[in-house]
Amino acid sequence: MLTAEQTNRWLERFAEKIEANKDYLSELDGIIGDGDHGNNMARGIEEMRKKLQAADPANGSEVLKNASVALLSKIGGAAGPLYGTALLEMSKQMTEADDLSAVVKAGLDGVQKRGKAEEGEKTMVDVFAPVYRELEAGNLTVEAVEDAVEATRELKATKGRASYLGERSIGELDPGAVSIGYLFISLIEEGLTDV
């Protein structure tokens, strides 16, 4: 299991990326959605930082649980329940096994149970799922995450997003895919995929 310190580092790096890219995420969402994803995430991140700084967690699972509650209570919209669920399920799984790919799988399952999206529908699932597969195969890299994010560009939004102007969505990245990408890139950059 990740230690509290490791998990804090992971989420802090994630937080920095979200904050640095807040406007970018909202811009992406502005093209194919309603333009609030960056603001939603930034609101959640601010609360998460506060909660994590105030807490004295025993292990990584507790850190994830605290983060989950913070994100759930501040992001709102679709991303809030999805991030909240992802982190909560990962937290739960972490208490049971040390296998990081099983942890990520639990998060992915949670997201899919909550949001009912399959792969290919241009959502964060299109990053979550390949990340899990690469992890399991033992070769998750930053490039692999970035490729998965980039691949959402060519997908046509369907579940939850298609329309007669569906073509609006083709050629643009999915904002939730980009933000969840940051989560996994942070994990790699902190060197936590091999612990």
Binding site: D36, A78, G80
Partner: protein
Amino acid sequence: MKKIINEPSNVVDEMLDGFVYANGDRVKRIEDTTVIAQKDIQPNKVTLVSGGGSGHEPAHAGFVGKGMLQAAVSGEVFTSPTPDQVFEGIKAADAGEGVFLIIKNYTGDVMNFDMAKELAEAEGINVDYVIVDDDIAVEDSTHTAGKRGVAGTVFVHKILGAAADRGYSLHELKQLAVRLVLNVKSVGVAMTAATVPEVGKPGFTLADDEMEYGVGIHSEPGYKRTAIKSAEKIAAELTAQLKKAFDFQPGQEYALLINGLGATPLMEQYILANDVKKQLSNEAIAIPYKKVGNWMTSLDMNGVSLTMLKLEDDWVELLNHPVSVTDW
């Protein structure tokens, strides 16, 4: 961006305080939440909670009061409120007979309200809900699986509120709600997109001579972009869509809602009403209930929507049931 605001990130908080300042005899804000709740909720009745992203005023806080909603939960602009906030709304409304949630069909709203329902049930509150998906413009649009929930939700608030006030049980409300949702349909047109304060520019762009049919209340894409049409042509298009979706039959009765989207003056809404009248007078249906005004807006969007509800049983009576809310 010509808006009368302060910090764009503060609009919801300030709006809610302003709302309570103006209507404090009827409502209160639950401290440290975005919940507006009715004061002096009558005991022993099922109570109603609705809400969603802000920017649709007077929905939903304007409908809080006896005979309609007991609590409204506001998210950030065009962003569903979080589960803990909805849960606070449920607790504020609960009068011991169960709480009924009215949810507009957006992925975010459905997930957040659903999680709040779980939280409330874990504390022993009986909760049931309905998901309103009245917008016939498009299936599976941005932010939504299936059809979106728009102005028809207002009829659902009104009728369920009246029914709850008359003592319907949670189970009876659910049954009524399901039938209402099957019978309510809406479709709209936008001349301009809304500008979210934190974004600072319109959600999409329409040329000076363009309008778009079927745009959603968060500026989601519609079904047809075209040159600006006359009120007569707009009424013909919107009523034709509703006619097709309902398959009007002689003798049917409908309620009609003409809803301004925020920046469209009442004058234009009444002009459209006049053209809708002409269209519907060609049909062998009756319209015993009509309402015109801004009920489910989209910030400063210029546009209107048309809602029809196929009436059954005593629904007209429930629509006419007296309420004590800020905006009805």
